[in-house]
């Protein structure tokens, strides 16, 4: 589903990604962990072309998105993304946040888009908030709307960039619950997170990144209980 081959990314002189290679299978849930500044968010943002790689290749469903001529907007229709700071459209209601993509990008009739949106709001437990504006919602509610907005495009992959890091602790659970449901339904997911519980429970595989490299990868149980690399050990000892 996702194939990443030897990608490198620099910001000026700073090398943020060094020769990253990874493959992600359909329906797989991959959790990316690592210290801040390790390049995990940048890695995720490369997967939908929000960041351009300096070298290397990324294929999504066999389409090379790192190719200059690839129509990125077309790829992004199929790759949903959820941001740390939610990034809901502040001037639109919850309903419009969810329908604007389907209506403007997928050219769905409004009625169909709204039906889909209501269905998704049901799923994230916010049907009664359809007409609220983002700033009237709590962080957890906003993030659930953001997930619904991404799902409204019927993506084949969902990318989560620290989806619970900006939330008050008591709201983390409701967002993770929605993500767990998604994983159970078979959505392919790449999740950058510090929620080790989530990684353990629903992750099929964990990537540990440090200084722009994938240092170690493995099944959550194995990586958490028996890390092979020194850096993984020292990172885990600080957070577990």
């Amino acid at each position: 589903m996702i194939k990443v081959k030897n990608i490198n990314k620099r910001f000026g002189h700073l090398e943020v990604l060094k020769d990253v290679t990874v493959e992600i299978a359909p329906q797989e849930v991959v959790v990316v962990i690592g210290p801040s500044g390790s390049g995990k968010s940048t890695f995720l943002r490369c997967l939908n072309g929000l960041e351009k790689v300096n070298s290397g290749e990324i294929f999504i469903n066999n389409v090379e998105i790192t190719h200059n001529k690839t129509n990125l907007t077309k790829v992004r229709k199929e790759v949903g993304m959820v941001f740390q700071r939610f990034n809901l459209f502040q001037h639109l209601t919850v309903l419009d946040n969810i329908t604007i993509g389907p209506i403007q990008v997928l050219k769905l009739p409004r009625q169909e888009a709204e039906e889909r949106a209501y269905g998704l709001l049901e799923k994230v437990g916010l049907r009664d908030k359809a007409n609220a504006f983002p700033r009237q919602l709590s962080g957890g509610q906003q993030q659930r709307v953001a997930i619904a907005r991404a799902l409204a495009m019927n993506p084949i992959v969902m990318l989560f960039d620290e989806p619970t890091s900006a939330l008050d602790p008591e709201m983390v659970g409701e967002v993770l619950a929605v993500m767990k449901d998604l994983a159970r339904e078979g959505m392919t997911m790449v999740v950058v997170t510090h929620e080790m519980g989530f990684a353990r429970e629903v992750g099929d595989r964990v990537l540990f990144m440090d200084e722009g490299r994938i240092v170690e990868t493995g099944q959550p149980q194995q990586l958490f209980t028996n890390p092979q690399e020194e850096r993984t050990k020292s990172f885990l000892s600080k957070i577990l």
Binding site: N48, L50, T73, F83, N87, L88, F89, A150
Partner: protein, 226 residues
């Protein structure tokens, strides 16, 4: 000339009212293209293509750097020596030159207002728009501009007020707006105090009404959509 203060003003009123009408007409006719010009050059300045950015920058530098009066004189007196504009447009060239000068001048300031408004919107909004497959145009049109526009209302209103005041410079090329009408009346009546007082009050009335309208609008927008 032995009449009292208010009698003179009353006598001048028909002329001054004509002047106010033209002041308002010139302001409105200039503000609309100036806003469009401002939007276009703001987008040029924000373009990822270097040449387009340069074009936007040069425009702003030139027209923000030149006194409006010089621009007015240049377009009205100098350009016709290069091109037979008076033959092409006849009497209406005065109007065209006036609107063109105002548009170019105000457009430069509006460019910066719109650019600042767009830049004030969080990068995350654009990224979210891209992440649901929007292209640059859609993201501008549906996500960024509607939010930026709300923030641009107060500085745009300032600029519109500035435009109204700037039309007084058109008196230098004999556009019969409020200031010019005042001058004409004074030239035969010598009633400087009465007429300039009346002219000043009339400018204030026009501008304060615009301010009142704009704050009402602003309040409504703020309540509506936030």
């Amino acid at each position: 000339m032995g009449s009292g203060f208010f009698e003179i003003i009353l006598d001048a009123m028909p002329m001054l009212t004509e002047g106010v009408k033209l002041t308002v007409v010139y302001s409105i006719v200039a503000i609309i293209p100036a806003t469009i010009v401002g939007l276009i050059f703001a987008l040029l300045k924000l373009s990822s293509i270097k040449i387009l950015r340069r074009i936007g920058e040069v425009y702003v530098h030139v027209f923000r750097g030149l006194p409006l009066l010089v621009v007015i004189f240049y377009i009205y007196f100098a350009l016709p020596q290069l091109l037979p504009l008076h033959n092409w447009f006849g009497d209406s060239y005065r109007f065209i030159a006036a609107i063109l000068a105002l548009t170019l001048n105000e457009g430069a300031y509006i460019t910066e207002i719109i650019r600042a408004g767009i830049l004030s919107i969080d990068e995350g909004q654009t990224e979210a728009a891209y992440s649901i497959g929007m292209n640059k145009y859609q993201s501008m049109r549906f996500i960024i501009l509607p939010q930026a526009f709300k923030r641009m209302i107060p500085p745009l209103m300032n600029q519109f007020i500035q435009t109204i005041k700037d039309t007084s410079l058109l008196s230098a090329i004999s556009v019969a707006e409020l200031t010019r009408q005042g001058q004409i009346y004074i030239s035969t009546s010598f009633a400087a105090i009465q007429i300039w007082t009346a002219v000043a009050v009339m400018y204030l009335v026009v501008i304060l009404s615009l301010t009142a309208i704009s704050s009402t609008l602003e309040r409504r927008w703020q309540n509506d959509k936030s």
